[in-house]
């Protein structure tokens, strides 16, 4: 008799991916453990591509050999950083994560507005920490402007956008983007919030720019981090992946104290805190997760 135990099987839907060398699953798990970035089964090929490019650079002969580079060589920490660079490259574009924007507009804003109206505060403070060349804060600003005649009528919106890299901050301030960065921006948003610079590039309009203050900030500068108070939302995508455990933990503690009660902290869409902070509540919205600092009235702190 055949039994269920004898017909135990591989997870469904993996036939076409069975050709992926199992070492890549080990690398996927290592990347997750160190950085919190998770490459799902159907995206393993992207990880394999990234590894392939690095393997050429370091002359690794096989995925197994490259695994040794990541775990046993003296330069392993540096190599892991290079690999993280490879697999997160090209992830900065406008409207990158629609589920985060839906959660913001459909669930979080109505909740924050209701909560703050009770306190007679009509001000929202949002921080894009590690804003790179500005795609994220501009996306947030445009989405909030969409609500300015409805939910946020009469509200003051402040978006603080910081990055470690001076050049990125300058590019962000200019707010000029080409096709690649605009590939997920709909015509509606392009027409309403951009003006043409030339045939290939669009510039963010002044009414969007004026909501945002750009500045250089090192997230590991404790003295400065202490002054970032009163935030309602913090977005920090694909930045903490480069930090070691203790530094990451410290930055997250800063984020927690910088947030108002009832505020939210978002990471990148495939990124996790991996239990680095027990004070935040992990919460799900359709298609996305976030970390919530419970409100004083929720009794969940």
């Amino acid at each position: 008799m055949i039994t269920a135990a004898q017909t135990a099987m591989t997870p469904p839907g993996t036939q076409s991916k069975e050709t992926v060398d199992p070492v890549y699953r080990q690398i996927r798990d290592l990347v997750y453990k160190v950085s919190g970035i998770y490459k799902a089964e159907e995206k393993l090929y992207l990880l394999a591509d990234g590894c392939g490019r690095r393997m050429k650079q370091v002359n690794a002969r096989s995925p197994r050999d490259y695994w040794d580079h990541l775990t046993a060589h003296p330069s392993r920490d540096g190599e892991l950083r290079q690999l993280l660079n490879e697999i997160t490259i090209g992830e900065t574009y406008l409207f990158r994560s629609p589920p985060q924007l839906d959660a913001l507009r459909k669930v979080i804003l109505p909740e924050l507005v209701a909560e703050k109206t009770k306190q007679i505060t009509k001000r929202l403070r949002i921080w894009s920490a590690g804003c790179s060349t500005g795609e994220e804060p501009y996306t947030l600003a445009m989405n909030l402007l969409e609500e300015s005649d409805r939910l946020l009528k009469g509200w003051t919106i402040e978006i603080l956008a910081t990055d470690l890299n001076d050049r990125s901050v300058e590019t962000a301030k200019a707010g000029i983007y080409g096709d690649y960065a605009l590939r997920s921006t709909t015509d509606y948003f392009k027409r309403k919030y951009f003006s043409a610079v030339d045939q290939k590039k669009l510039e963010v309009r002044p009414e969007v720019k004026k909501l945002i203050t750009f500045s250089r900030l090192n997230l590991q500068d404790d003295a400065k981090m202490l002054f970032m108070k009163g935030m309602d939302l913090i977005f920090c995508c694909n930045v903490l992946i480069y930090f070691d455990g203790p530094s990451k933990s410290k930055v997250i503690s800063h984020f927690f104290s910088d947030l108002n009660f009832g505020g939210y902290f978002f990471l990148g869409t495939s990124e996790s805190l991996v239990k680095l902070n027990e004070q935040f509540h992990l919460v799900h919205f359709p298609g996305t997760i976030a970390y919530w600092k419970p409100s004083l009235t929720s009794g969940k702190l």
């Binding site: 269920a4 099987m9 839907g13 359709p286 919530w292």
Partner: protein
């Protein structure tokens, strides 16, 4: 809920018998597959399914679909089990059976969306229970996940006008379906599902899950299983396997009373990496869409 409503539900559920027949193999099959996680008698399953030509044929058609990437099409249920593994064939069989019992006519709730949710919940519940060790049998968890929402099928067939109003309200206000049902009909799919489950003489724990997956605290027995399905259901709805529309809600699984129920019975739950579990669920979404399309045919989804 008053006696009159309960009587109406029972009376309409009784009438389901006159509707397209539930395949005779379904209930015995459910019993065999739910038996024990280790020793499901595959020979008996194969024999049982062979009695129903249309189910066997449909199962073979699905098993031959490119999704499963077999080099050659299986010639029998047994060869399908050997090539694909019992679990996958089991999913195909049960979905075929239920698909035949409740044909995809003009439903207020798109059957494709409904089956994706049910299958998704079944897989999540099985995976969840596997992570938790031996507290909840993973096959029972799978069945419970697959069947937890059968009340929606009753609603679609026996309360179609009333349920359509509830569905419209849920879509318009982007609220949960059970809240919309309660607001417009005064009862939910948990009540109609329970009546059907009792009529079908489903196992006691399945009746508990069907009746109480939206109110774990009301369950009288098998609370761990009910809590597991409640959490699996919520997670599916948050990861693209819901009812085909946006539900405006924040779900805090760890603060949910069901989490506490499960944690008390299964302390391993405290060590679980819920984010990674969520990402792993996403990996199954594509597969679920494909299996459901293969079973039901390419029906366009609502969203």
């Amino acid at each position: 809920m008053n006696e009159a409503v309960i009587a109406t539900i029972r009376e309409r559920v009784q009438r389901i018998e006159a509707m397209p027949a539930i395949p005779a193999v379904f209930l015995p099959l459910l019993k065999l597959l739910g038996n024990s996680s280790e020793d499901i008698p595959v020979e008996q399953v194969v024999q049982l399914v062979s009695y129903d030509n249309s189910i066997a044929a449909q199962c073979m058609r699905v098993a031959s679909s490119p999704l499963f990437g077999l080099a050659s099409s299986p010639k029998s249920i047994k060869s399908a089990v050997i090539s694909l593994g019992l679990r996958r064939v089991e999913t195909i069989l049960l979905t075929c059976c239920l698909g035949q019992a409740f044909p995809a006519k003009k439903w207020a709730l798109d059957p494709t969306v409904f089956w994706r949710h049910s299958m998704g919940c079944a897989l999540v519940c099985r995976k969840f229970s596997e992570k938790l060790g031996h507290g909840v049998d993973s096959e029972k968890a799978y069945m419970a996940g697959l069947l937890h929402d059968i009340g929606f099928m009753v609603n679609c067939m026996s309360f179609s006008d009333e349920f359509e109003v509830a569905m419209k309200r849920a879509l318009q206000e982007e609220i949960s379906l059970d809240a919309a049902e309660l607001a417009t009909m005064g009862f939910t799919h948990c009540d109609t599902g329970r009546a059907l489950a009792e009529k079908w003489n489903l196992a006691k724990e399945l009746v508990e899950v069907i009746a109480h997956h939206h109110g774990v605290e009301d369950s009288q027995s098998d609370q761990s299983l009910v809590a597991l399905v409640h959490l699996g259901d919520l997670l599916c709805r948050m990861r693209g396997l819901g009812y085909g529309y946006y539900e405006r809600q924040r779900v805090d699984l760890i603060s949910d009373p069901a989490w506490a129920v499960l944690l008390a019975a299964q302390p391993e739950l405290g060590d679980m990496d819920l984010v990674r579990f969520t990402f792993e669920l996403d990996e199954a979404v594509e597969e679920i869409h494909a299996v459901v399309s293969a079973v039901l045919g390419p029906t366009p989804a609502r969203t």
